[in-house]
Symmetry: D2
Subunit: 141 residues, 4 copies
């Protein structure tokens, strides 16, 4: 009922493209991670602080993307971020990239899991983070 999207806007930069004249596929993950960094900062869990303090470690264990139509240099795209899965110690973030005319050009997903500094499973996501993520959960997640 209360589903929110986190929206960011990006221009496809010259260095995002390659000699085939299109977004180089791995750069989509740059866009996605930009949005994820913005998102976590908005939620009050900026990655820079998490990494520096080392208390809440959320390494990325999976990433995937589908490329539906080519993106070109200079295109302004809108990226919407939602939480696709929310578990005890992990969550999945879904990204959808639209061009200005509303066409879905690409989707991506990253999965983050909480660990302890020694690499063993973490104690469970902090309640504050869980609640914040929950606000962006997809309807069917």
């Amino acid at each position: 009922m209360n589903r929110q999207y986190f929206i960011t806007e990006h221009r496809i930069q010259l260095y995002d493209t390659d000699a085939a004249g299109r977004l180089f596929f791995a750069q989509l993950f740059r866009l996605a991670h930009d949005a994820y960094e913005d998102f976590m900062e908005r939620l009050g869990f900026p990655l820079a602080r998490l990494i520096a303090e080392g208390e809440l470690l959320l390494p990325l264990i999976h990433a995937e993307a589908d490329y539906l139509r080519p993106l070109h240099h200079g295109e302004h795209v809108r990226l919407s971020l939602t939480i696709a899965e929310l578990r005890q110690r992990s969550f999945a973030v879904a990204y959808r990239v639209h061009t200005p005319d509303g066409t879905l050009a690409a989707t991506a997903r990253t999965v983050h899991v909480q660990i302890r500094p020694d690499g063993s499973p973490g104690p469970g996501l902090p309640a504050g983070l869980r609640a914040a993520l929950g606000d962006y959960r997809e309807a069917d997640a």
Copy 2:
């Protein structure tokens, strides 16, 4: 019976890592694409020529990766490439990244589909490419 692996070696470069001290996830796709470019050049289908000539267009439509253990700056890794799927107009490439002690640190997969310059489905992979890819097909592919 005749299964081949295409092997490349890489050192995790300083710019591949991030302030968390590990390989930044999207850089795994750089390693994978390096290997893919080497592979296609070995097969006699160098990407630079394909892109310049525009006759055989094989855009990447899907990418995914799993991160099993962290990779650090300066580590020498071995990447093995196989063909995981081989269809009429598309193929999937599988990448497995091992550290020197034989630990599997990451896997990735990219899917490439043949299109015509107008974006419509291509006429089918050339026989020479199909045969060359077939030599690297996984046992169960």
Copy 3:
């Protein structure tokens, strides 16, 4: 008298940093080029259009940077862009990166020269571009 600065704001992203915990030096050029793309778009000469149309070619022939203090993940920086030199067929762009407390953390410069499609010297910068660049010229340029 009428000197203008073109200002952009950036956050140092995780992928900009390296395992030494700082901005990887080459990423400063990414920030600079982001600002340059914004600047040229503002001036009415978006790079994507220039490249696609091929009428006004302004390749970069020189780049340099000085790193005065380390920049870290998550820092919000302000980049000011000015025109350091303006000649018949070339111009130099100067970039100054400040941290929020006003410390100058880095400077950079890129030089762009007009060429014809065959690589020979161009006919001279268009009057509209020259005038627009002139508005951002440094006092002593």
Copy 4:
């Protein structure tokens, strides 16, 4: 008399290029840093160990490059590295990039300075490093 060059070979990768069909300028610094990492490893001072141990800190304080002719996807280039300056606490590395026909396509330079962990000037380069660097000094350096 005893001047040595440190040579590395590279292929311009798809992700090094941009929609203008050429090497994106900042990627030259990637090539240069690849060569620098190889060089320091060869000299017995691998960057990964220096950074991890924190005893010998050699941050880059200056970088510059000149682009003499465009480099394209798939080109195989040869990079030669020499020491352009060698001082008490700093050194400059010069890079020259040639295409297979012997054309000089680009040059670059990076300057590294020794600091203490608190950022103050270092005590002077270790004798072993100084001697090793000296073997690659340019004739007029």
